[in-house]
Symmetry: C2
Subunit: 457 residues, 2 copies
């Protein structure tokens, strides 16, 4: 049977599976369910709810459930709940046979007591492996790597390498790269399965391996690791510790999740939310993710109002000035957000680094001037032909031009500054920069207006 | 030699390579340069400029240059220029040995005449292959797939499959999945190299292959294909035509670029730029990417000013009202952008579909009400304790609450509407929604103020 994902069809007969579970028809359930891809198994597993899941535990071994658990797409905070549905010994057995990186991701989400209750039931070798991985900081290469890789000694032959591969194939995360080490387990090279199968059996590994290995340090940031994958198109990258000893590998499927997450992350911050929730999140939780920024910005907005209070006399005299406030603050906010987006993405992708910061700044000042002058001319034209007032047009145009230049510089310079301080530049979220630019643009506008008050009255 | 990408070191000795080229030292240049990873070769190639590149053509064969061209990270518009540096026959030879998907990407960027000058020089088989791929629409599975895959008949044995693999290994994009077809070349299954190397040589492929293949239609959107990779963690996905015949495969390295592009794309649109340029783009080009939105929004801003003109009398009477305009329009803009970000990402990741649109809308209305009421209370409190005015506080609070609710609904509903019309919801860019929300929030505020004008005076 061929499946087609593009028709948005469900890949399995949900009702049938549910009925087989309720009927206690173990054999037929297993036949249908285990034939599915783990992703689809996991989708069904998430959907049916806790009561039906309790029947699934009776029908599947911990080994079989481990594959499903690796494919779950639930919030990190939900793992605790999902594990509590199982008996502790069943859950412990399942965790110990999961891919170590996935198991560690789950264990990381549990409170210590709960986690220890599982670790107590596992054999000491597995526990040690978990403890090592749990020690790495979140978002580092160490935290996302797996220890299930295939390595061989550089002095072995293609024949023995192929034998190692055949034995390790059921457990290893990938067998398409074999990492080559010396007798102190230091990384010295890499060879692909592709190269192995076209080489004669007696060839020595060290004669055909590539000794220019691109690797990641165990403490490297996961974004830097993602960049390696984007640049070099690898399927797996080895991870080494400070002694150059091979300690794990990172595979491309885990990196896809990292790339997706990081991009989502920058995006959320540009929009001023802590993270992009999905449609199933309830309104209270959704509101709690959005309120922090909104309330901080309310206070900033009150500062704007207070500063504008200084110009109340001017506004009182020439009420028409108020009409262009949203136009000016909006335009400055927009150009600031544009500059911000370019700077944050540039820093994230590594295109902007220490050396070309000044170049970027100069480019942004020039860009700000060009866009500012063009926008000013457009505004002067509109106001002149529409409102028949040259002086108001010139005032608004000048304010827009200055605001755009200032906003563009702020939008690119503030993230660079924050990045230099070692903070993720994406925290300089869009709304924050926008509100700052609001304040400066309005001050520029009303300041200019106050100076020209004689002409305006 | 081990290379470490995390130290941000350059992976090669640029000066040495440059000198070897200028000295005409072919042998030593080739020895150093060809030992590099194609990504690093490409980085050097981009950096040295056209004059030095002309020497490189003399030192490398078109086959060697093809690998470099596949790894270039230049703007699509630059390919034309790069190809014009070479002799036509050299360029044609290089294009014909590149991975077909990469070569087609390049050919797609050339004007017809230039493209035909290359195609004329290639053998008819290659030309036919290119013509087929060039016919697929951009951003579809057909446009990003490669035709260099390994397929075998379902009735062959593991032994013959391994022989096919050994022969095809140098040309195929991946040999880690072998796609199984019937005698009409219809896709019937898939088998991994992993499964092949652990099976005995006389086993029939059809007995060990997986017959539940997840595939993409040749006309499918590249975002849908990316979703398959995210869900199923595949290294390659087969592509079939309307008769279920296997026509190509898509590999994970190409999909990483798609995921990165699409996320960048949504991000740019949220910021109101046509795409995120890098630091090397000159100010005029950068300005031209930003001006379209800025100018459209200027016109929208003029509409805001005109509508506000209706309330000039009110503003004239109570100038203090103007002080809170930026606060109210800012807050409404921010909450609208938050709702927009959630809706656009939800649609992009497929989390929001036809069935749960109403659910999302209901969730957003509730979220808008909760955030609106809380923000209103905060504002009333601040204005009361700060400005000692309850009536202004109540007015601004009410306006903020209404604006947030309207902005939240608009932010989620407009992208859903646009998506239903078959347009990419990300075009409902952040600044556009923000400006719309500006208008409504100011109308709500000044409308309320006009009604209460008796109390305010």
């Amino acid at each position: 049977m061929i499946e087609n994902r593009n028709d948005n069809e469900v890949q399995y007969d949900e009702e049938l599976l549910r009925q087989l579970l309720l009927d206690g028809n173990i054999e037929e359930f297993r036949e249908h369910y285990l034939a599915l891809h783990p992703y689809d198994q996991a989708q069904f597993y998430e959907k049916v709810g806790p009561d039906i899941r309790k029947i699934i535990f009776l029908f599947l071994s911990p080994q079989e459930l481990a594959l499903i658990f690796e494919a779950l797409e639930i919030d990190n905070s939900e793992y605790e709940e999902y594990l509590k549905e199982m008996e502790t010994s069943y859950a412990a057995e399942m965790l110990s046979v999961m891919d170590t990186d996935d198991a560690v991701d789950v264990l990381n989400e549990l409170d210590e007591e709960h986690r220890d209750s599982f670790l107590e039931m596992m054999d000491s070798e597995t526990v040690e492996e978990f403890h090592e991985l749990l020690a790495y900081e979140e978002y580092t290469a160490g935290a996302i790597m797996t220890t299930e890789y295939v390595s061989i000694l550089q002095n072995s032959t293609v024949r023995s390498a192929m034998n190692v591969l055949r034995n390790e194939a059921p457990n290893a995360e990938t067998i398409y790269y074999v990492f080559v080490v010396d007798d102190q387990h230091r990384l010295t090279g890499v060879i692909s399965l592709r190269d192995l199968i076209v080489s004669s059996e007696d060839t020595l590994i060290k004669d055909i391996m590539s000794d220019r290995v691109v690797y990641a340090n165990v403490t490297a940031d996961q974004e830097d690791v993602a960049q390696i994958f984007k640049d070099y198109d690898f399927l797996a990258v080895p991870v080494v510790d400070e002694n150059n000893e091979l300690v794990g590998i990172i595979t491309v499927d885990d990196i896809i999740d990292v790339i997706d997450e990081e991009a989502s992350d920058d995006y959320s911050k540009l929009a001023g939310i802590s993270d992009v929730d999905d449609v199933n999140v309830n309104p209270f939780k959704a509101a709690s993710k959005r309120l922090p920024w909104l309330i901080i910005l309310l206070f900033l907005g009150m500062i704007t109002a207070t500063l504008m209070g200084q110009f109340e006399a001017t506004l009182d005299k020439v009420a028409i000035l108020a009409l262009f406030i949203p136009l000016i603050s909006g335009t400055s906010g927009n150009s600031g957000t544009q500059a911000l987006a370019v700077a944050v993405r540039g820093i994230a992708t590594g295109e902007i680094d220490g050396k070309n910061k000044l170049k970027l700044l100069f480019r942004e000042i020039s860009t700000g001037l060009i866009t500012g002058i063009i926008c000013a001319l457009v505004v002067i034209g509109i106001i002149f032909f529409w409102k028949h007032s040259l002086i108001i047009g010139l005032l608004v145009g000048a304010a827009i031009c200055c605001s755009i230049v200032v906003a563009t510089i702020a939008g690119s310079f503030i993230p660079l500054l924050i990045h230099k301080m070692g903070i993720d530049p994406a925290v300089a979220s869009g709304p924050f920069i926008t509100t700052l630019n609001d304040i400066t643009s309005i001050l520029i506008y009303l300041g200019l207006a106050s100076m020209l008050i004689g002409q305006l009255g």
